[in-house]
């Protein structure tokens, strides 16, 4: 038994290329997520079509451009240029001041600004429009301040759990989940399918080792690998990106272990139904990776999906695990808040183990 486990370890750790990928991938992914993925707006390129060119439009333009959100790309002179400059791709918004802006504002108390946003990216467009509107509104308020402001509500926005609005906070739990899934389920299913393909599984099965011992031996190295990886990501998140671990670390690691066991039993189950590496690979890729990324709430909030997909997401183990990790790490809650999710994962694990044992037995008979 011991010799067998050592053989499995050697198998995995000798494959340098796979090792580099397995350990390099999570690190690179977290770094990329941490440093690049962001939806904050800065230096969005805009064009201004100022038909009035008076001191108020200039002042407003300056206010908009000095906000840090916007960067002037072009001063347009004519309406016809708008479409062309959008098509050329750089400009995200065009701000148009009507002719005689200052005069109308003073005399008629009625001056118009038209904002056109490139809504091919709808979120970007609505944020830009909102920011622009906010700046203009502030400008007006300040004008009133001089006259004596009647009433003003100030809103104090508070961002809980992630004051810096860093996207790493969101991605660290997601990357951990994906990785545990990838290593545990995918690698085990492929490695067992490989032994089946090469015929070495038969050799193991006729040996005095019990089937359960074989499975444990196959699976143990991956448990260790997956665990090391999870800890690497947590450390990286903590030291490089200040992603806190508010809750109990022990609880977090225990939940990780539960998820790893769940993923391993899923991997074993996949390997019992597939005969070649390629099938195992494709099944893992399309049945595990895509749903893990898409339906788990890793990147995209589940609440906004169509009803069917929301239902589907309930049977994704990763969804429950991500909730658990986010809650422990970022909200700092205890088991009392996540017992339901933990229970679901446990039940799923038992189901997969049961199914694979059944399959495995049938095959042996």
């Amino acid at each position: 038994m011991k010799g067998f486990i050592i053989k499995e370890f050697l198998h995995i750790f000798r494959d340098v290329r796979s090792m580099i990928i397995l350990f390099g991938m999570p690190v690179v992914q977290v770094l990329i997520f941490g440093f690049t993925i962001s939806t904050e707006i800065k230096d969005a390129e805009i064009a201004i079509l100022d038909q009035s060119k008076d001191n108020i439009t200039l002042e407003l333009s300056n206010k908009i451009l000095s906000s840090g959100y916007f960067l002037l790309n072009d001063n347009l002179t004519h309406y016809d240029q708008i479409e062309e400059s959008f098509k050329a791709g750089k400009i995200k918004e065009v701000i148009i001041f009507e002719d005689g802006f200052a005069r109308k504002l003073e005399k008629e108390h009625d001056a118009h600004i038209k904002v056109i946003a490139d809504a091919s990216d709808p979120n970007m467009a609505s944020l830009l429009v909102n920011y622009t509107a906010g700046i203009v509104r502030n400008y007006q308020m300040q004008q009133y301040e001089n006259i004596s402001l009647p009433i003003k509500i100030t809103t104090e926005p508070k961002m809980l759990y992630n004051p810096g609005l860093k996207s790493v906070f969101m991605f660290v739990p997601g990357v951990i989940t994906i990785l545990l899934m990838l290593i545990s389920a995918m690698m085990t299913s492929i490695s067992i399918a490989r032994e089946k393909e090469l015929g070495t599984m038969e050799v193991l099965l006729v040996s005095p080792l019990k089937p359960i011992q074989i499975l444990v031996g196959k699976v143990l190295p991956y448990v260790l690998l997956a665990f090391i990886n999870a800890i690497t990501i947590l450390l990286l998140g903590f030291f490089v990106f200040d992603v806190p671990i508010q809750g109990s670390i022990i609880l977090l690691l225990a939940e990780c272990l539960l998820f790893i066991i769940m993923a391993l039993s899923l991997g074993i189950f996949i390997s019992t139904v597939s005969n070649t590496q390629q099938t195992a690979m494709m099944m893992s890729l399309f049945a595990l990776m895509l749903p893990t990324i898409l339906l788990s709430g890793f990147i995209y909030p589940i609440e906004n999906m169509p009803e069917i997909l929301q239902w589907l997401s309930h049977i994704m183990p990763s969804k429950w695990f991500i909730i658990i990790v986010k809650n422990i790490m970022l909200k700092g809650v205890g088991l009392g808040y996540i017992w339901k999710e933990t229970l679901i994962l446990t039940v799923m694990t038992l189901i997969f183990i049961g199914l694979s044992v059944k399959k495995f037995k049938i095959r042996l008979e």
């Binding site: 690179v28 056109i116 490139d118 809504a119 622009t132 961002m159 490989r194 906004n304």
Partner: protein, 370 residues
């Protein structure tokens, strides 16, 4: 040329005979397009709001009415202490807390400044900033109303009128934005995985050796290996565009021919990368991991999900070498804005440049030896 045809014939036979490959090539892309388009949305349709109204004055009720009337907000609960509201955030029952302090109404009546606290669950930073912006704009709106009430109709508090228009996607539909990008993803996966895996597979089963002892020229072999999946990927793109048009109603404002023209060049870049990976790996497992690794990085940085403009400057520089980013930008410009060739020229030539580099690298690395 005849030699290449023989390889093509053989590759197509193998693809069409393979029970696993066929669905991967034609069904998976469709499923992907359908599912991704619906799931990959940052659109915020509903904000679950928890209300802590300590004031319970007419003013606070009026403000709450505004929130109730908004299609974005759904009030999921009321509490009389901030603490229990925070509990609701913790339990994921609510996304946002609107906290109206005592004396809110009184302060407004006395023309004093009144405060409101909006607390948002910010674990998802991008969603949080949108939710926060929505809440603030409703409060601002209410503020404007009471100013008008207060001043009577004598003076307009906001003499500067703003009108907004959203071009190219007036409904602010997120699917319209995502589908062109997902099309790129689709052809990329087909191009990179299939052509790379194909060569490694022949390595693994040993047939590549048999081919290597034949007098076949390197370029013939490479063309023979790339062309089938080049054609298949273009067919997938056509299928994808059809679905985009018919099912998702995505406008294709620009020239479809131009999209395919760019795709032809783009696929060469991707396939060259796939081939290169196949030359440095020995098993399908390794090849898959390596392709997966690069794909994930390229895709994440490509601007498919989050705008490239929002990334750190070094990431933007790295993106200059990311072919996926170029094609996503081009296809969005052509489909959604109707850009023509002169608009995409610099991006297109960058792709041509990378196609040359990636194919030369793969050809150079590919050895007709064991």
């Amino acid at each position: 040329m005849r030699t290449i045809l023989y390889i093509l014939q053989k590759e197509f036979l193998q693809v069409f005979r393979n029970k696993v490959m066929l669905p991967i090539i034609f069904i998976v892309p469709i499923v992907q397009l359908l599912i991704l388009s619906y799931t990959a949305t940052f659109e915020i349709k509903n904000v679950n709001l928890f209300v802590v109204d300590m004031d319970r004055s007419p003013a606070s009720r009026e403000l709450l009415g505004k929130f109730e009337g908004s299609p974005f907000f759904r009030i999921v609960g009321y509490a009389f202490s901030y603490k229990s509201a925070e509990e609701a955030l913790k339990k994921d029952i609510a996304d946002q807390i609107l906290h109206i302090p005592q004396d809110f109404g009184k302060n407004l009546d006395k023309n004093k400044k009144a405060k409101i606290r909006v607390t948002t669950n910010a674990i998802d930073g991008s969603a949080a900033s949108l939710m926060s912006v929505y809440a603030i704009s409703i409060i601002m709106d209410y503020n404007k109303d009471i100013i008008i009430d207060n001043l009577g109709l004598s003076g307009d508090p906001e003499p500067i009128k703003m009108t907004f228009s959203y071009w190219f996607n007036p409904e602010l539909d997120y699917i319209t934005y995502m589908v062109p990008g997902i099309l790129v993803l689709l052809v990329t996966i087909i191009g990179m995985f299939l052509s790379g895996m194909n060569v490694v597979r022949e390595k693994e089963i040993g047939t590549i050796e048999q081919i290597n002892v034949t007098p076949i020229k390197k370029y013939q072999l490479i063309i023979g290996k790339l062309l089938p999946f080049w054609i298949i990927a273009l067919a997938d793109l056509a299928l994808g565009l059809l679905i985009a048009r018919l099912i998702f109603n995505i406008p294709i404002l620009g020239n479809i021919g131009l999209i395919f023209f760019v795709a032809c060049v783009y696929l060469l870049v991707i396939q060259g990368m796939g081939l290169f990976i196949s030359t440095v790996t020995n098993t399908q497992q390794q090849a898959m991991f390596l392709s997966w690794f690069f794909l994930v990085i390229f895709i994440l940085m490509s601007g498919l999900f989050t705008p490239v403009k929002s990334m750190t400057s070094w990431a933007q520089i790295i993106n200059k070498a990311n072919p996926i980013a170029y094609f996503i930008e081009i296809i969005r410009m052509i489909m959604l804005k109707g850009s023509d060739f002169s608009n995409i020229k610099p991006l297109f030539f960058a792709l041509v440049f990378y196609a040359i580099i990636s194919l030369s690298l793969a050809t150079w690395r590919y050895r007709k030896v064991a």
